[in-house]
Amino acid sequence: MTDLLSLSRAAYGWIIAAMVLVIAAEICVIVWLLLRRFGVLPRQNRSELKRSKPSKRLARIFADGYLGLVLACLYLPIFLIIVFSFSGGSRFTFDNGFNFDSYKALFDSEQSAGLLSALKYTAILAASASVISTILGAFSTIGIYALGRRMKKITLTVNQLPMINSEVVMAVSLMVFFAAFSKIFPQGMTRLIISHVAFCTPYVVLSILPRLQRMDPNMYEAALDLGANPFTAMIKVVFPYIMPGIVSGFAMAFTLSLDDFIITQFNKGDTGIETLSTYIYEDARVKSLEPFWFAVFSIFFVVMFTLLLVMNIKRTQKEAK
């Protein structure tokens, strides 16, 4: 016992970290097995694999090994950040043992207030930009669909521009544009919302358009024949049909706006508005990564991954049904 106690704090840190890792790995395996048990993940047909030729089995093992390696490389940095967010430092060692200092720093660090306001602005911006671009996109897609061939082609080509264009060019062009008409577009949220709507709406349009193209045009006409005016027909007939497209367009606009850095960076001006991306850029880039950011990043990784995984698993389950 005395020997154990004489171990350094660092050693304790490593041991606890290793234990946590093992437990995390076990939880992953259990979740994986459960998912397979409930049919979310297809079970591999082992017998089929066994029956196949050895060379084929070898190829399969090679393929899985390769995929595993790439996955490991993709997740290693993320993984290390999460592990060492419990070290309370930013040197990737457990010199001070296993602790929650980084997470405590979330509340009492100099950056706490900045992070909070950045989160607030990010949420406001993403919410308003995605709602506006979804509404704009939904109505305009219906309009574009009804356009003549030539106009349709032109509009869709211009619509593609923000998607294919390099983000820097788009950001810079908007910045110069706003500076030229600064009287009409005051610095701050107005500019940010407009620029976010400008690059999100094309994605909304393109996610609704295919559904609209698949829709039977007679449905709309039938509604008109039955006495509905065009607007009612639109709301009662067309919208329900393209709803899945609208929803996925909204989700896309929301994540795009949430994730955007370059366009926000150029158009935020000097009114003190920072979104999460620009705040990270301004704060963490100029200094070495502080423990505070380890905690923030870890939370983000975990939340993002859980959300996306759960969403996709649910979708898979739905489709399986």
């Binding site: 000097d270 100029v286 200094k287």
Partner: protein, 568 residues
């Protein structure tokens, strides 16, 4: 009934009068829009100013505080008409530019009568029984700043079209000094010790060459310095440092400018403002050459890179450097702990800069009282002390004034934990009184030596500088010039940099060139091409071998369809 009605009417009338009176009172709120550098004021002083304003004018004030991060951002915003600010705090060259563009209102701060002339009747100018009245603080401003600025800028000609075109004015009439500082070298003392270059003679020979890994005699300062030098990602500062380096390394010897004046004969001020094509080409080459020694360019002040050992030297401003040095205190260094970083302004040449308050023509004229009271308020010794404590640069208020002002001393004593119960209550956060050992400084004298002279008294009572190498009191360069000229650097060796004017574009181009140079991706392309060629060759070889083998063995490939069938 009638009585009741009239009573009600009277009541109503009284109410109306009362509310009008009340609303009158609340309407007495002025406002002020301040446009300042980020983190360039102690926030509490803004709150204090509101109180001060109420005391002196009897009115409330709303302050809108907006910030910028470079002079360029600020200039763009002001010149594009994208602003409605009342007071701005640019650097000296940006003020020059704004004056040339005829965008500023002259303040005449150093002429008390002219400054106070257009105050409204609300401002209490004289002590007529009031506790607080207006005191003009222009006398507190360091005379050295005014001299330096007048020297460097002379008379500025307004070039913008308009009634004032070609009018020549003095910058002193337009701005009120706020903070100033020097440009110098921030370095890791202990890393230098390890390299064996922490030596007065070596460093004083290398001077600005430290940033270029040049020992001042054409050789490398140290092999170990290569890849450990940080450069400030700022055009003007890098330009100045490079010109100084060129001068010291003898690369300007024998060269003359277009007017036939040798660069080596120019004063420091003239040299950094002599931007011509010849000099620019040399600067461009030096910066390009420097890139092989760089760790990178930094946007903040590289404090973390210097402390973690990624880099050893950085080009820095004095305020940032002071903050970094104070943060670098390490108990395990030296006998009783030591600062790991140090700041060094080379003795031969250097750059000094000033930030000051100016008032753009686009201000709200109704805010005049607030504007002038605010600017003057900042030159009060205790306010200046609080601000310089918070942001680290040197306040424009004379150090003598700060030293002799009770309130200012109290602010500093508390901020630096000086054991001086006569100044502040010397207690910790819980109100327990601190003993002399608990405090960082035993008494005010010790602190004064440290803070204003960067030195301490050793056991024999000799004055010793904390910084044995540079001996430079970079916190108060004017003070040291006046009192201790032998020991410290000469204030004349610090030059003020003017706006590049028409040469601005050429400087930007040269800077961009040196930033883009030094990266050669061609070998990368070569290696990749080679790798692709090898890979394609290998695939073809395999195919070829297979074909040859198959032709020799001549086994018909019959079982293929079965295989793919089983996979289905």
């Amino acid at each position: 009934m009638k009585k009741i009605v009239s009573a009600l009417a009277i009541l109503l009338l009284v109410c109306l009068v009362l509310t009008t009176l009340a609303s009158c009172k609340t309407e007495e709120t002025d406002s002020l829009v301040i446009y300042n550098w980020a983190d360039y004021i102690f926030d509490d002083k803004l709150t204090d100013f509101k109180e001060y304003y109420r005391d002196i004018t009897g009115k409330n004030i709303d302050i809108t505080y907006v910030t910028f991060d470079t002079n360029e951002t600020m200039l763009t915003r002001l010149t594009k008409g994208d602003s409605n600010v009342d007071v701005v705090c640019p650097s000296e060259y940006a003020i020059q530019k704004l004056i040339e563009l005829d965008m500023l209102v002259p303040m005449h701060y150093f002429d008390e009568q002219a400054y106070t002339e257009d105050f409204s009747s609300n401002v209490r100018l004289a002590p007529d029984g009031d506790e607080v009245y207006y005191i003009h603080n222009s006398g507190n401003v360091e005379q050295g700043i005014i001299d330096k600025v007048s020297d460097a800028f002379g008379s500025i000609e307004i070039t913008a079209e308009g009634s004032n075109q070609h009018k020549k004015v003095s910058m002193v009439d337009y701005f009120v000094p706020y903070m100033y500082g020097t440009l110098g070298i921030l370095y890791n003392k202990y890393a230098f010790k390890e390299l064996g270059i922490y030596d007065e003679e070596i460093l004083n020979r290398a001077n600005w060459g430290i940033l270029f890994n040049d020992d001042g005699q054409g050789g490398l300062l140290s092999e170990g310095l290569t890849g450990s030098i940080l450069m400030k990602d700022s055009i003007r500062d890098s330009y100045a440092a490079t010109v100084f380096y060129l001068l010291e390394s003898g690369k300007l010897d024998g060269l003359k400018n277009d007017d036939g004046v040798a660069y080596a004969d120019m004063s420091v001020g003239d040299l950094i403002n002599a931007v011509d094509d010849q000099l620019l080409a040399l600067v461009k080459d030096a910066l390009t050459e420097q890139k092989t020694h760089l760790f990178g360019y930094e946007v903040d002040f590289g404090k973390d890179d210097l402390l973690t050992g990624n880099a050893m030297v950085d080009l820095a401003w004095s305020g940032d450097a002071m903050y970094a040095v104070e943060e670098s205190w390490n108990d395990s260094l030296g006998d009783e702990g030591d600062y790991e970083l140090s700041y060094y302004v080379p003795h031969s040449t250097g750059n000094i800069w000033f930030d000051g308050w100016v008032v753009p023509k686009t201000r709200n004229p109704a805010h005049t009282d607030a504007i002038k009271l605010f600017i003057n308020y900042l030159n009060r010794p205790d306010v200046a002390a609080a601000n310089l404590l918070e942001i680290g640069y040197s306040a424009s208020v004379k150090s003598d004034v700060i030293k002799s002002d009770e309130a200012a001393r109290a602010v500093l004593a508390e901020g630096y934990a000086v054991y001086a119960p006569e100044l502040w209550d010397a207690a910790d956060e819980d109100g327990n009184p601190l003993s002399q050992e608990d405090c960082d400084f035993a008494d005010w004298e010790e602190f004064e030596l440290y803070f204003f002279h960067n030195s301490y008294l050793d056991e024999d009572g000799n004055l010793v500088s904390y910084d044995e190498i540079s001996n430079s009191n970079w916190r108060y360069p004017f003070e040291s010039a006046a009192t201790n000229a032998d020991n410290y650097r000469n204030i004349d060796s610090l030059g003020v940099m003017r706006d590049f004017g028409t040469k601005n574009k050429a400087v930007v181009t040269a800077w961009n060139y040196s930033r883009s140079a030094g990266v050669n991706a061609l070998p990368l392309l070569g290696w990749t091409a080679l790798a692709v060629a090898v890979a394609v060759g290998a695939v073809y070889l395999v195919i070829y071998i297979k074909r040859v083998v198959r032709q020799n063995v001549k086994i018909p490939q019959k079982n293929k369809p079965d295989d793919s069938g089983s996979e289905q």
